[in-house]
Structure formats: C-alpha cells, structure tokens
C-alpha cells in the first residue's frame, strides 16, 4: 500500500467531504441550542459516513492497477476546460455581461477551440446582441456591469 497510490482524486474528494462535515459540525457547536440542533443532527452522521467512505476509498486505491489510477487523475483536456470556465468566470465578474461575454465567447471559440474566425466573430456579435438588445433594451433588465467597471464608474 504505497502512499502514492492513495494520494489521488477519489481519496481527496472523500477527504474533502469529510472535512466539510467536520468543520461545519464544529462551527455548529458555537450556535445557540435551537440553531445547532439540525446542523448537528445531520453533520455528525455525515462525519461517520465520511469516515466509512474515506476508509473504503483508501482500501480500493491500494488495490487498484496503475492504469485505473491514471484515469482518475485530471487529464490535460479537463484541466484546460477548467481553465476556460474560470476565464469566463473572472471575465464576467470583472467586466460584466455586456463587455466580457462577447470577448470570452470569441476567445474560447477562436483561441481555445480553433474555430474559424467568422464563426467566432458571429458568435461574439450574437452574444452581444442578445445580452444588450434583448435583456437591457427590450426587457429593461439591467445586467451586471462587472466589479472593475463598477469601481471605475464610482
């Protein structure tokens, strides 16, 4: 049972879940009686289940073949997609929907997935048209402007 075999995503996820239950139950002890009842009622069984699951994952990891272990790691493609999701996230967070959405859509299609320039441009334009034309103008729903933009405006 090598340490390396155990340090993998499955065990990690089980561990994180267990830690979440433990920390939330611990924090619940600081609440008043009525407020901590339910959190503890759910949290403590959660901890017990977490221990069971963690042990099970560790045991299974030790018994697995090298191939199976590899497929559990995050592949390059997955890491790449994760990166894109966060690019979208930070872009929208910083610059809001009207400005950032067309840009990240374009970036994803053209730079990320190597679609043709035309397709990427049309997609970006369409995104802007829907967000600005439909949401802001027709429906008059003000969309988030982005934290950086709001800071600059104030």
């Amino acid at each position: 049972m090598t340490i390396k075999a155990i340090l993998n995503g499955r065990v990690g996820t089980a561990l994180v879940m267990l830690l979440i239950f433990m920390s939330m139950s611990l924090m619940a002890l600081g609440f008043t009686d009525k407020a901590r009842l339910m959190p503890l009622l759910v949290g403590i069984p959660g901890i017990l289940l977490g221990i069971v699951q963690l042990t099970s994952e560790i045991r299974q990891s030790a018994r697995r073949s090298a191939d199976e272990a590899d497929s559990d790691a995050l592949s390059k493609a997955e890491r790449n997609m994760f990166l894109w999701v966060f690019i979208f996230f930070f872009g929208l967070l910083g610059f809001g929907f009207i400005y950032a959405a067309p840009i990240v859509v374009f970036a994803f299609m053209y730079a990320g997935k190597k679609e043709s320039l035309l397709v990427a441009l049309i997609s970006a334009a369409g995104t802007w048209a829907v967000l600005f034309g439909f949401f802001e103008r027709v429906m008059e729903i003000p969309l988030f402007k982005g934290l950086i933009v709001e800071w600059m405006l104030n």
Binding site: T32, E140, P142, N154
Partner: protein, 330 residues
C-alpha cells in the same frame, strides 16, 4: 487644409458641449435614472416603484427610469447598495423602514445612518393591526391584556420588521404572548385557519381578505384609524410604553419611502422631490394605483426626514428595552 480641420473639430465640440444646456438646464434630459428596489420583482415595494417610476420619467423628462431589483438580507442589501451609490442624482431607491430597528439597537451590520439619506418622499403608509383568529378564545383587547396563558402569536423570522413590531408591542403593553417565528407571507393566516396560532401583528391591508371572509377579526390598530377598533396608544400606560408605540406608529406612517444616496446635490434632490410630488398627485397615477388596490397617501421631503429622525432619536433606556425585546443571537 489643417486650419479647416481644426476649426471644424472645434465647432463640433462647441456644438456638442452646448447641447447639454439647451434644454433649460434640465439635468435629467436624455439620462437614465436607476430606481433600486430592495426586494425581488413582484412584491409591494416593486409594484409601487414601477408605478411611480413611470410617472417620474415623465415628470423629470428623463430618458428612462429603470428598476433595479437588489434583494437580500431583508432589505439590507438594497438599502446599503443605495447608500453607497454614486450621489449624482441618477440613483434613487426604496426599502422597508423596518431597518430602523437595526440602527436603534446598533446592529454591527448597519454601517450606515438612515438619517443621512436624502429623503424624496413616501407613497403611502402601512398601518398595522392585530388580527385574531375566530377560533381563538381572545375576542378583543381586554381579553388579550387579561390573558393568563401566553397567547400564541405568529410572526416572520427573527430580524424581520414583523417580529420586531410584535415583540415591541408586547413589551410596551405588557402582553402575555408566545411569539412563534418563521411564518412568512400568508403562512401565518393559514396557521390561524388551522387553529394553531391565535393572532398576528401585521400590515392591515394584508388582512382584508382574511377578515372579510370571516376567518378572523381586527382587535387593535397602530398608525391608522379604523372605526370601532381601538388604537394601540390608548393602552399605553407609561411614558416608555407611549414611546415604544410611537416608534411602531412612525414606521407605519413611513411605509413606502423613496430616497437618494447621501451627498446628492441639493438642486437635484429638489428636482426629484418636485417630480415625485407631481407624480403622486397625478390623477392617472392615482387611478392606476386604485385599480392595483395600492393606496396613495403621500408625504414629501422634509416631512419624511423628520419622521425618520423622530424614530431614531431614543433615550438609552428605551434603546435597552428595545434590545431586550428583539434580542436574537446577532
């Protein structure tokens, strides 16, 4: 050639700049006003804002009045957002004045002073009443005040204006009550129909259906006049009781307020107040409001400010009483 170019650019710039002042110096011309509403779309505050916003647009000659729903934390998010908005006269907002309680007891999250808002006005008050279920042994105020067993009252969650009002009144009139929190919206009325709780203290208008259908009756009113129903102030025996009831009455009178962020230039505040007044006195708006069954009992500018100040100005003794009454583990 270059001279011509520079001269034409200068001319264009001159014309463009002068456009700003061609419309009688109306600041709001061709501008968008944001009307922050501290609730989700669809509620009372939202309805009033959308109605008034329509007429404000006309009276300000603005390009548009856009409703910005900013819900969360019981009107706190909306109020704080309004407080921190750029005070250029292009942002106004509406929220529940129940936040007064939080400021009086000094809750840490109240990082703003309600007195510092530039008060535009209020559209209507929200008188409160106590409604009792017809299944309850309590039939009037005398019964309630003489009750030996704690009377079960329902209210919204802790921290809400509903809960605070109920606890404050109970303290002021020394009522023997057991307040059960967590009844949002019409859940309280359903509970009364099932015979679980006996009474609720809430906005009178929200009980009309309930009473008209015969499920219950009003036994007390605060901040409003109803024929044959006693007023809370009638039962306030001590000076402190009167002050506590006065707070609830002020809140009832304040109702649907509209304000601008602190620091908004005086002239723009005046424009807003004037447009607001014109809107609320517009017979079309009054007719529309009537169809929506939303009363219009306005007050403007200074009057609203004075009400706010009077509610917030309390002796340490009263503050301590209020704190004790609405004590949650905050």
């Amino acid at each position: 050639m270059r001279h011509v170019l520079i001269r034409s650019v200068a001319l264009i710039l001159l014309v463009a700049c002068s456009q700003e002042t061609t419309d009688d110096g109306n600041f709001y011309h061709a501008k968008n006003v944001s009307y922050i509403v501290a609730t989700d779309p669809g509620g009372g505050f939202d309805a009033y804002a959308r109605l008034i916003g329509k007429y404000l647009k006309k009276n300000l000659a603005a390009d548009n009045v856009i409703i910005r729903n900013t819900p969360g934390a019981g009107h706190l998010v909306g109020a704080i957002t309004l407080f921190r908005s750029k005070p250029d006269g292009l942002t106004i907002g509406t929220f529940n004045m129940g936040l007064i309680y939080g400021q009086i007891v000094g809750k840490p999250v109240h990082t703003f002073d309600l007195r510092e808002f530039e008060w535009i006005g209020k559209a209507s008050g929200e008188p409160r009443s106590i409604v009792v279920s017809n299944q309850c042994a309590i039939k009037n105020m005398e019964d309630l005040m003489a009750a030996e067993e704690p009377v079960k009252f329902g209210s919204a969650g802790l921290g809400s204006a509903s809960f605070s009002d109920t606890m404050l009144l109970a303290t002021a009139l020394d009522l023997n009550v057991d307040v059960i929190p967590g009844f949002e919206g019409t859940e309280g009325e359903m509970s009364m129909m099932r015979g679980e709780i006996c009474a609720i203290l809430g906005s009178t208008s929200s009980f009309t259906q309930f009473v008209d259908s015969g499920y219950g009756s009003l036994i007390l009113t605060i901040g409003g006049e109803i024929d044959g129903i006693p007023n809370a102030m009638d039962f306030a025996e001590t000076e402190q009781a009167r002050r506590l009831v006065a707070i609830i009455e002020t809140l009832a009178r304040l109702g649907r307020v509209t304000a601008a962020p602190p620091g908004t230039p005086k002239d723009r505040v005046e424009s807003l107040r004037a447009a607001y007044k014109a809107s609320l006195e517009d017979p079309d708006l009054i007719a529309e409001a009537h169809t929506m069954r939303r009363p219009i009992e306005p007050a403007y500018g200074e009057e609203v400010y004075q009400l706010v100040v009077s509610a917030l100005d309390q002796t340490p003794e009263i503050v301590a009483m209020i704190k004790k009454a609405i004590d949650g583990a905050q």
